[in-house]
């Protein structure tokens, strides 16, 4: 059994200034997930008549992208390519203090405690993060042959889960990795190329308009991305952007 001291960001609502509070949880087992440890804390807080810690989560298998907090200063915690929900307490040392904060960025206002508003990502996609094909228009799938390696490269970019760790890790709160991943996913496929110039112009503008910062190539986003998406996609986005 392990015991932890938690220092957690508490903020009643978007207008509240917010503050840290400390809690102790014990009887934690190494195979408990990080979020199950928070569940345990919350059940205890509720029984004590206190307000539980609000945090985002849903699938708890690393694919929906809804979870995500800063753990001791790192987005999604100490392991590489692991989302918060896939982190287990065996990755921490018994007795350790763990600081838990929301993903912070101007474009991601805090809603409550550890929950932030990431709807800006949806707005970026709505500006052109798609291939314009109506239901029914598609030709026979095997008409366009796409070499396996090319599809795999597109897939590497398409695997983004939209969690926002890249933004939270960036000192400029830039959405460049998220945006570039979508541009790159669609650009690397032949069916995505006709709209390429339109897409890159639209998406880069949207990202600027929504209050995300500029990319200064520190590479922090790549380190924290739970899907291991490479910053080479940002380079591709920049090349395509300058071409327009």
């Amino acid at each position: 059994m392990m015991r932890f001291n938690l220092k957690i960001w508490r903020q009643q609502n978007p207008k509240d200034k917010g503050h840290f509070e400390t809690y102790t949880v014990d009887e934690v087992t190494p195979d408990m997930s990080f979020l199950e440890m928070l569940d345990k804390l919350n059940e205890a807080l509720i029984i004590e008549g206190k307000s539980p810690v609000a945090f985002d989560h849903d699938c708890r298998e690393g694919i929906c992208g809804q979870c995500g907090v800063m753990i001791n200063g790192r987005a999604h915690g100490p392991l590489n390519q692991t989302s918060t929900c896939q982190l287990h307490m065996r990755s921490f040392i018994d007795g350790q203090e763990i600081t838990i904060e929301p993903f912070r960025a101007r474009a991601f206002p805090v809603k409550k405690d550890l929950k932030v508003d990431r709807s800006a990502f949806d707005q970026i996609i709505a500006k052109g993060g798609y291939i314009s094909v109506n239901t029914g228009q598609a030709p026979e799938a095997n008409h366009t042959l796409i070499p396996s390696e090319q599809v795999e490269e597109a897939f590497d970019a398409a695997s983004c889960i939209g969690c926002g760790a890249c933004v939270a890790s960036c000192k400029n709160a830039s959405a460049a990795l998220f945006t570039a991943a979508k541009i790159s996913h669609l650009h690397k496929l032949p069916q995505g190329q006709p709209e390429g110039p339109f897409r890159v112009k639209q998406l880069v503008k949207a990202m600027d308009d929504l209050g995300f910062g500029a990319c200064s190539n520190t590479g922090a986003c790549e380190v924290e991305c739970p899907q291991g998406i490479s910053i080479s996609h940002i380079a591709l986005m920049n090349r395509l952007y300058f071409k327009t």
Binding site: K40, D58, Q66, K111, A126, L145, I146
Partner: protein, 658 residues
């Protein structure tokens, strides 16, 4: 024998449900030969002219594959659509988590596939408890889905030549599954989400994230809109439309421990049920054979390991009870590859219901492995030996990584521990051929309905059904409904029906908050889950189900006296959200048990202990139970309405995978 049976049935009727023999259910199956029915519908359906479409408003609740594809397709045609999801983005709906693949009849492998074979596999997989016409249409519409997804940019796996690749899934003997690594659901959902967001950008869809539907508004017998709660502010809103589409997925999370996302729930369909929509076969739940076993009481979910692993992994348990050696130390001759032994024709790719029961049989008999003796091995040793580690890594790398993250075990070295877990609801809202419920204007698509899978769904048919419903069926059947409204204006949300519905939702939220007892929502949910796993899970019996009904009644009583929720209703309140869902789960759980009790036969995933063959397989009783059990809501005593299943083309046989 027969008279005995009818006495038992009568006894059960008076105890827990009644039968309405006069209720007329019209399945609206088009006339003509099976292969021409869908053509017949499309050729004869009513249309709305392009200029008039913008006058119609449609609400779509849920933005998974079914909801997002339906919303996008309808908006592309020119209708005004509003979408609702409880997640903070439509892209997070639980379709995202589907791993292994999507079936489609392309016959790219030249291995004997055809629309008829796909139809037959699906119908047989469901143990002949689905409507022939619906299942045929699913197979018929499957091919174009692959074309559409590829055009959207879905990166399906390909051969080096650039052609699309396939693999095999359970319950079939052809390779018709298309896949995108172990993230097929994510990639298909992103395709649908992007198509939907394109329409958001064009102003044809208004998307409400973090909004949960809490009631259906029915006026003059027709669906006119919904009441939804803004989960960030607690505010209730009235939303009116010409038609409401429920695409809210399955309710397997009722078992608490399941492969579903934490927020998956049955609230939308249950509230619609309370307003008059019939459910169908609510107890038919797929318990998936390959999930991570429970490791302790803290656990919040059981992660799925894709069925695709059974293409190369071999399932076994030790031949000796209470085996304590490490799996790699157990020699070949002391291993029992029980699926290969019992089902030589399909082996490790036996269908899910059969594989799960076979695992439970071994575990219950004392051959289980792992810390809690609740698992079996899924072993890649032979596949790695034959194909090399790199090939296996390429096929399943992300699944092996996921397994490692959760268990800290390297499955390239040592076999995976797997165990059955609740996964998919075959049951749901009853729908006719047009995907309409019995309430005009209310439609149900994807996992939220009961339509194509019968008593057991085949792997990789779930993504398919969600997509086919959303892209190809609803965009024909919903306009057919709208056209008959002949230009009626959008209903008013100021009507009395909207007022009453909002008032009732408000009251039920307040009621939950005023209890102020001593137990948390999760605590109640865990207890309900345990009752259902034990008595309405893989194996059911008359006595067990009767006990479960009693236990759920008691639990429900305690819930309303001893629940503790902090906070208020007019703010973000996660516990209040969960409480509303668990309140519904308690009622759904009871109806599931009644449904399972009323069906005095075994079929597919519904395995009644009393009805099995000498080899322990499900024993159907076509003479008495060849019907869909539809239920009219009543908190105490739901009413059974039967939709007879008529087989015009196939003859139901004993399902044999040996």
């Amino acid at each position: 024998m027969n008279s005995l049976l009818s006495i038992t049935l009568t006894e059960m009727n008076t105890a827990s449900f009644s039968i309405d023999a006069n209720y007329h259910l019209d399945a609206k199956v088009p006339p003509g030969p099976l292969e021409q029915k869908w053509q017949h519908f499309k050729s004869n359906s009513r249309l709305v002219s392009p200029a008039n479409r913008k006058k119609y408003h449609i609400i779509v609740v849920g933005t998974g594959l079914a909801g997002a594809s339906a919303a996008a397709s309808l908006a592309e045609q020119g209708y005004n659509v509003s979408t609702f999801c409880f997640q903070d983005s439509p892209r997070r709906a639980h379709s995202v988590a589907a791993q292994g693949g999507v079936n489609a009849m392309k016959n790219y492998q030249n291995d004997g596939d055809s629309v008829f074979r796909m139809f037959y596999d699906t119908l047989k997989g469901g143990d002949f408890r689905a409507r022939e016409a619906n299942v045929y249409r699913l197979a018929e519409c499957s091919a174009h889905l692959i074309d559409q997804a590829v055009a959207q940019g879905v990166p399906f796996a390909r051969e080096y030549s650039g052609y699309l690749a396939n693999r095999s899934f359970g319950g079939v003997q052809v390779s018709r599954t298309f896949y995108a690594r172990g993230q097929t659901g994510q990639q298909l959902l992103l395709g649908a989400y992007q198509a939907m967001m394109r329409q958001v950008g064009l102003g044809k869809i208004k998307s409400y994230s973090r909004h949960e539907m809490l009631d259906l508004v029915v006026e003059d017998g027709m669906a006119k809109g919904i009441i939804a709660r803004n989960l960030d502010t607690g505010e209730l809103g009235r939303y009116a439309a010409h038609a409401v589409v429920l695409a809210t997925g399955g309710f397997g999370k009722i078992y608490y421990l399941s492969t579903l996302a934490m927020g998956c729930n049955g609230t939308a369909i249950w509230r619609a049920h309370k307003r008059g929509a019939l459910t169908a076969c609510p107890s038919w739940t797929q318990i998936h054979p390959t999930c991570l076993p429970q490791s302790g009481s803290h656990q919040s979910k059981l992660t799925l390991m894709s069925e695709s692993l059974r293409n190369d992994g071999r399932i076994w348990v030790p031949k000796r009870k209470n085996e304590s050696r490490a799996p790699i130390d157990i020699p070949e001759e002391e291993r029992d590859y029980y699926l290969e032994r019992r089902y030589p024709a399909f082996g490790n790719l036996a269908p899910r219901d059969i594989s799960s029961r076979a695992a439970k049989e071994r575990i219950d008999a004392g051959y289980g492995v792992g810390k809690m003796k609740n698992a079996v091995y899924l072993d890649f040793k032979d596949a790695i030996h034959a194909q090399g580690k790199e090939t296996i890594r390429k096929k399943y790398g992300n699944l092996f990584d996921m397994y490692h993250k959760i268990t800290a075990v390297d499955a390239y070295q040592s076999p995976m521990l797997i165990s059955p877990a609740a996964h998919f609801s075959m049951g749901g809202l009853w729908v006719d051929y047009e995907l309409g419920t019995n309430i005009p204007g209310l439609f149900a698509i994807g996992e939220a309905n009961f339509s194509d899978h019968g008593a057991n769904r085949l792997g990789a048919n779930s993504l398919l059904q969600a997509c086919v419903d959303g892209y190809y069926i609803l965009p024909y059947t919903l306009p057919h409904y709208l056209a008959a409204l002949s230009g009626e204006p959008v209903p008013s949300s100021r009507s009395e029906a909207f007022g009453i519905a909002e008032h009732e939702v408000n009251n039920s939220l307040q009621q939950l908050l005023t209890i102020q007892g001593t137990r948390t929502v999760d605590d109640f949910h865990r207890e309900l889950g345990k009752i259902l796993y034990d008595k309405c899970g893989l194996i059911r019996s008359e006595n067990g189900l009767k006990e479960a009904i009693k236990e759920i009644d008691e639990l429900m009583g305690e819930f309303y006296q001893n629940l503790k929720i902090p906070g208020r209703h007019d703010e973000m309140n996660d516990e209040l959200e969960k409480a509303g869902r668990v309140a519904d789960y308690l009622e759904i759980g009871k109806e599931m048990c009644i449904d399972a009790l009323s069906r005095n036969e075994s079929c597919g995933a519904h395995f009644r202990e009393e009805h099995q063959t000498p080899e322990g397989e499900a024993l159907r009783n076509d003479k008495e139970f060849q019907y869909t059990s539809c239920w009219k809501y009543d908190k105490q005593k739901p009413m059974l309405v039967k939709e007879p299943l008529q087989f015009e083309v196939v003859t139901p046989t004993e399902r044999n995978y040996k």
